[in-house]
């Protein structure tokens, strides 16, 4: 019976065996104790593992939420570095890198409907506001002649 409970909780019993094991669970105190103990063991093993492993961001956390703290730290480091080395840098003429225009690749027309429907879920919306929306909606080929 207990070996059946063990396999049941792993989803490894066939329909009839599983039904019998479930019936046994509700009727047999030892089977229920085994169910309780085996689940406790699994939870303890996973909790011990997560206590040791570094915390990962939640799976459904938007990327920008994860990136912002890192960006804040990077910004702080950059500021400290600038303050520390500013006297040295001031003797050199500022160099401004020439910004190359970003390559603009128009999305396929069919993608616009998809992007428009899903743009609310894009983490980039939180950072760029309406920019993505405008870009998504605007399709020069479809704009009416004025």
């Amino acid at each position: 019976m207990k070996e059946g409970i063990s396999a049941l909780m792993d989803g490894e019993l066939g329909g009839r065996e599983a039904a019998e094991a479930i019936a046994g669970l509700t009727n047999d105190a030892q089977a229920r104790d085994a169910w309780r103990a085996y689940h406790l063991i699994g939870d303890a093993m996973r909790e011990s593992r997560s206590a040791i492993a570094p915390r990962r961001p939640a799976a459904n956390a938007p990327r920008w939420r994860v990136a912002l703290p890192a960006m804040a730290i990077a910004a702080a480091v950059a500021l400290v570095s600038w303050v520390a080395f500013a006297p040295v840098l001031q003797s050199q003429p500022p160099q401004v890198a020439e910004a190359k225009p970003a390559a603009i690749v128009p999305p396929p027309r069919a993608a616009n409907d998809y992007l428009l429907a899903h743009q609310g879920f894009s983490p980039r919306v939180a950072l760029q506001g309406m920019a993505i929306y405008v870009r998504t909606v605007s399709d020069p080929a479809e704009e009416p002649h004025r």
Partner: protein, 199 residues
């Protein structure tokens, strides 16, 4: 039979009045729900209270559960909603969850307190239990330890474990069961003590 199908069967039994069936679902998900709610509520005693309240709400709302979602998905929504309501009642900021509201589980009736659900005093693992599990696992024979770790931590199926360990699926089933029983044997004195504790 998949996990969802097992839960469906237990839910069906519970809906027919089998409280043991619901207790089995509580045993299965209480720690998972507690971990979830711990993300929003710092005080551990409050987490336990809110977890228990969520299970009570779920039990009351069970007749309305249609199985459109998995049981834990439904329980998850109840848990989040219960935590939100609790935090707002305490005047604290509720979590900005992106999850769907538990609208379909809100149709429960207010009623008398559910007294005979067998929820333990504390749903959290005590340090002693966690240490017992860890130390017993470490002392297991290699093949038993590997099998149970692949199952519980890596979430591998028996078939995948059998391939990894180059043994039949029946052997995997036996090894995992023997590993669990070895640990359960060490846990039983601790669990019996906890079972005797009541409010």
């Amino acid at each position: 039979m998949s996990d969802r199908e097992i839960d469906s069967q237990l839910v069906a039994r519970a809906q027919q009045g089998d409280k043991q069936a619901f207790s089995l679902l509580v045993e299965k998900y209480q720690r998972k729900l507690t971990r979830l709610l711990s993300r929003f509520i710092r005080d551990q005693a409050e987490v336990e209270d809110v977890t228990q309240e969520a299970f009570i709400k779920a039990y009351r709302a069970l007749p309305a559960f249609r199985g459109d979602s998995a049981f834990y998905t439904w329980l998850y929504r109840i848990g989040i909603n219960t935590a939100k309501n609790y935090l707002m009642a305490m005047g604290r900021r509720a979590p900005t969850s992106t999850e769907v509201e538990a609208e379909d589980a809100e149709g429960f009736e207010e009623g008398e307190q559910l007294r005979d659900i067998n929820t333990p005093e504390s749903v959290l693992l005590s340090n002693e239990i966690a240490e017992t599990v860890t130390s017993t696992i470490e002392q297991l024979p290699d093949e038993l330890r590997r099998a149970i770790q692949m199952r519980e931590i890596e979430g591998m199926s028996y078939e995948d474990i059998a391939q990894a360990m180059d043994c039949p699926i029946g052997t995997v089933r036996s090894r995992i069961f023997r590993a669990r029983e070895a640990v359960a044997e060490k846990l039983r004195p601790l669990l019996d003590t906890r079972k005797d504790k009541r409010w």
